[in-house]
Symmetry: C2
């Protein structure tokens, strides 16, 4: 079994970002907007700040109280959206219920929407618009497959999970690479049988170690999108790594697999956003 580790691809993306920054003498800047004090949000924010430094990029963080009004939120959001020194905005979601997410999405510049959550970028996915941003996690799966030269054209790709941030956009991206794509989910009958047909199996359901070797064909490639915490408090994926490794031919570890790549793709999008905004 070959472990598909994200590190090498991340180093490649890092070098590209650093190269751009040095050549253009610029500092693409990400605004992270967090409402409330959710532990996992804070952890991710810290990790992005630390990693982006190495990429030659800046991160500015903006915090609002969990009880802030929609007006307060939109004031900050509008400021970031209009500020020419900010090139991308990452907003932690879900937002508290008093915040009008739809209003934010309508207002958001598509160039600053690095995680592809606006209507412009979602439609761009279907339209294969090369200036649109796909959600970072979905794109990270594609880049990982490309980096490790996993054949996709004509092959059976099975995606477990149909969310708007992974399952659905990834299905479209995989179709665009000529894969035969199946999306299955909690309502799928005989799900193990369906998954066992896959040459490439992608687990994106957000449940710790839920996908074991009984979901996998001998020799398949398995990509684990999940980032969960197990009973012992350790980071783990949606895949049960220990049983899966006996069946899969290639498998991403968690941590050290796709998560790393996703943050690198966010960095790549920030650099691209800088270019798109400069061209305007």
């Amino acid at each position: 079994m070959e472990e598909l580790r994200g590190k090498e691809l991340v180093e490649k993306i890092k070098a590209e970002c650093l190269g751009f920054v040095q050549e253009h003498h610029c500092i693409p800047t990400l605004a992270v907007l967090r409402v409330g004090e959710k532990e996992s949000d804070i952890a991710y924010e810290q990790s992005v700040k630390k990693r982006f430094q190495g990429f030659g990029l800046e991160v500015k963080d903006y915090h609002l109280d969990a009880n802030c009004s929609n007006e307060e939120f939109m004031k900050v959001f509008r400021f970031l959206n209009d500020d020419p020194e900010i090139h991308g905005i990452l907003v932690f979601r879900p937002l508290p219920k008093q915040i009008n997410e739809e209003e934010m999405l309508r207002y958001m510049k598509k160039e600053k929407d690095l995680d592809g959550i606006t209507r412009e970028n979602l439609a761009g996915l279907l339209l294969q618009d090369e200036n649109a941003f796909a959600p970072c996690t979905a794109e990270a799966v594609m880049q990982l497959c490309k980096h490790f030269e996993i054949p996709l054209a004509g092959k059976e790709v099975c995606i477990i999970g149909r969310s708007l941030v992974v399952g659905k956009p990834l299905a479209i991206l995989m179709l665009n690479q000529n894969a035969t794509v199946t999306v299955c989910h909690s309502k799928t009958e005989n799900i193990k049988e369906v998954c066992k047909r896959a040459d490439v199996l992608v687990a994106a359901i957000g449940r710790a170690k839920a996908i074991g070797s009984s979901y996998c064909k001998e020799g398949a490639t398995v990509i684990d999108v999940g980032i969960n915490v197990d009973e012992e408090g350790n980071l783990c994926g949606d895949v049960d790594f220990d049983t899966m490794k006996t069946v899969a031919d290639k498998l991403t570890p968690v941590p050290g697999g796709l998560g790393l790549v996703t943050t690198a793709v966010l960095a790549q999008h920030l650099v691209r956003a800088y270019q798109l905004l400069e061209e305007k």
Copy 2:
């Protein structure tokens, strides 16, 4: 084998449209904009005009020369888009290459975009926005399944074809109904084997009689989206009806199947557009 004929569903939709028109004393009006004299466009235009009459709806047709400039085209398009007496616009595509389709799509009011080709409506599909219009053909498949009570939740649906007007939007609509969805296409390996897993097989490739019984599991439901002309000049679908009927349990005929429903869905969208524009 049961033939899934569109007539009954069409009559139901027709009654709904007539009911609305009579109750609100209004005439929802569709503008059909045709550039050039393509035979199939003219035939479809005639058929929409004739059918819509029976639905209590009006169709106004606008024709431009195949050589018209983008300025001439956009002048007419803008007029229709701004005219409060026009509630929906159907533009025959592909447009001649001198016409900037992207400019038209950017300008088009989403409420008048009955066939769901604008970015707003494409994104609405992913966002499950109930005020968005899905492409009529894809929605016709869903309504036909509902009308004939074809089980979808948990079932395997296989869509042959990945176009922006049928395959991709239909995959999303089917997922929203809890189907396990596979999209296959010209690059799919072992395509017959893949299709044979389907409880519901949808053919949308635009090739006369290309899908025969060897693609179908005994007892499956087969929906034929194709509208083609065979060697003898007769209308036919993508499915080879004569062999398919020996294997499929339920099958849409061509003509008399999905095509009728698609036009009825267009009428339904026009009535909905009238409502959305009035509410504005």
